[in-house]
């Protein structure tokens, strides 16, 4: 029962972070929000008894993807002539 409530709470958090990632003006905040979605998702996977998937999601989704997005954002800002 407690587990179900926790999963629902985390899922609501994921939804909120998804809306932040879509609608926030600042791209860096959006990238970090998408990383937090992955972190929450890994907790949900752990609750659903899939620790292998949870480790993958935590390391790839919330570390590597965010890092790659930041590298690309930095590169784009360097080449944008208006800023």
């Amino acid at each position: 029962m407690i587990q179900t409530i926790l999963i629902i709470l985390i899922s609501v958090g994921m939804l909120l972070m998804a809306f932040v990632a879509i609608y926030h003006k600042n791209l860096q905040v959006a990238v970090i929000a998408s990383g937090i979605i992955s972190l929450f998702a890994s907790v949900v996977y752990l609750f659903l008894a899939a620790p292998d998937v949870a480790i993958t999601e935590a390391s790839i989704g919330s570390v590597l993807t965010v890092a790659i997005f930041f590298y690309v954002l930095n590169k784009i800002r360097h080449e944008d002539p208006e800023k």
Binding site: P51, D52, A54, I55, T56, S59, I60, V63, L64, A67, I68, Y71, V72, N74, K75, H78
Partner: protein, 234 residues
């Protein structure tokens, strides 16, 4: 025109909702495993000797799919390397030097995180995790190394060599399985050992360590190439 576009979108959306509803209507959750899953769950520990059932499925029963995944990752890293071609020498480093805190923390943390990564892929047949997870953790260590300590000193050579050698050994072990055991990527070319100890489950620990090194090297190459084009003006 806009109304037409929106109405087409609406019709498509309605169609997909209808399809999903039909799929969901017939869905009933089952308490028992299906045939393939039951075979893996019952025969897996005896046939492969791996305590982690997921690993025995990923490396032995579905080993060819794992080879395909690793190949896809290799292709992605190669294509990124092709697109982000860097000329050595002409590049300027526009980034600031990292602070003392960053360097000290990185020196403390890098060995520990690498150790966790290596632990995860060496113990892939006993505990949750395996080659992909451990390799990704190794690559995240590499990010920390890159943004803190040595920004320009790491060459492609070591990473390429690691990746090539581990990929080659992975395929060679698979072929050894054809010669010595039942088929491609069969793990019984070595003895299965005692169930639950580190040196058990035949070739699974070796294969998963090789996959871990390969995945780590590939992801690190992607990060390194992205890092090298950062300050470049073109």
């Amino acid at each position: 025109m806009k109304i037409l576009k929106n109405s087409i979108l609406l019709v498509l959306l309605g169609f997909m909702t209808w399809m999903l509803f039909n799929l969901y209507k017939d869905y009933d959750s089952r308490d028992t495993l299906n045939d393939t899953a039951r075979y893996y769950a019952e025969k897996g520990p005896d046939e492969t000797g791996a305590a982690n059932l997921v690993t025995s499925v990923v490396v032995t029963y579905r080993g060819l799919d794992t080879l395909g995944e690793v190949t896809i990752l290799f292709l992605v890293s190669a294509i990124i390397g092709l697109l982000l071609k860097t000329e050595n020498g002409t590049r300027k480093t526009a980034m600031r030097a990292s602070s003392e805190f960053m360097i000290t923390a990185a020196k403390l943390l890098i060995p520990m995180i690498s150790l966790i990564g290596v632990y995860i892929f060496v113990n892939g047949h006993l505990t949750p995790g395996g080659g992909f997870q451990g390799g990704a953790i190794l690559a995240s260590t590499f990010i920390l190394l890159l943004i803190s300590i040595s920004r320009n000193k790491i060459g492609h050579k070591v990473l390429e060599l690691t990746e090539a050698l581990s990929g080659l050994s992975f395929v060679l072990i698979g072929i050894l399985g054809v010669i010595l055991a039942a088929g491609f990527l069969d793990n019984k070319i070595l003895g299965t050992g005692t169930f639950g100890s580190l040196l058990s489950a035949g070739a699974i620990p070796i294969i998963y360590s090789l996959i871990g090194l390969k995945v780590g090297a590939e992801l690190s190459t992607i990060i390194l190439e992205l890092n090298q084009v950062q300050g470049k003006e073109d």
